[in-house]
Amino acid sequence: MIACTVFTLVSQSRVAPKYRNALVMSSMVTFIAGYHYFRIFNSFNESSMKGAVEIGTQQGAFNEAYRYVDWILTVPLLLVEVIAVLALAKEASKSLITRLVPASAAMIILGYPGEISSNNGTKVLWGILSTIPFLYILYVLFVELGKSLERQPAGVAATVGRLRLLLIATWGVYPISYLIPVLVKNPSMAQVASLFTDRQIGYTIADVLAKCVFGLTIYKIARMKSIAEGMKEDH
């Protein structure tokens, strides 16, 4: 995450000034996520004892719901990055941002009660509720944003199309990880530990893909657009 932050920061001069905002946002997202993982390691260490990890909401326990603090701070920025790199007209950008940011916040907030619940029914219910704003985000990205892609330079529209697919693929890992505990009925203690580990791995992979790979794709789009607008390729 931190390496990605450094890369997007030092690559500022390789894109036209109007796309630098998108790269700064990308570096902020990966830096916040990097800091979050630093704190996750701290929390994991403190809650570990003799090979076991205490999980829960009590003091000193590892509480993965804390990930939601990170997500609510970074996920809206990921969507703003997409709008920023397209450099749309001010009104079109504003309209997209005012719809995408609240929807992404709602998606995360609605997922939180299910995350901290130990009841499978509650998890599924909040999971479904959280999916509604997610579907709305997809609608805006595929239908509304699709209209503006016709005005983008050759190659950029295709890359933005791939970016949207990347977003679905990486964001799809989150609900799968979220639902991992629901998959096994009446799990043994060993299975609970294994499910916990699987969920951590799932969330971590999703974070790396959704923040680093997404940020690098944003960089690629910014670079392609800068070259299409006359920036020298060897710059």
Binding site: M28, R39, Q59, V69
Partner: protein, 79 residues
Amino acid sequence: MTNLRYGGYLLIALGLINLRYQTGHHNVLIHSLTIVIPGLILLAATFIKATQKYLANRTSQIVVGIIAALLVAYSFTNK
């Protein structure tokens, strides 16, 4: 001005994550507010016309940058 706005947001984000992960620790609120409050002030200052002209000054930007860098370092080191 936009970069300063991002800086303010970053400090708020780091302070909030710091607060969540250290809940229950001694002086956690003071540690986190040390990061969050300057972030809030910086973010607010970028929206107020009277303070915007001070922030546009190169010297002010260097001072803000140094303070922000120190606070980011503090967010990693405080326990």
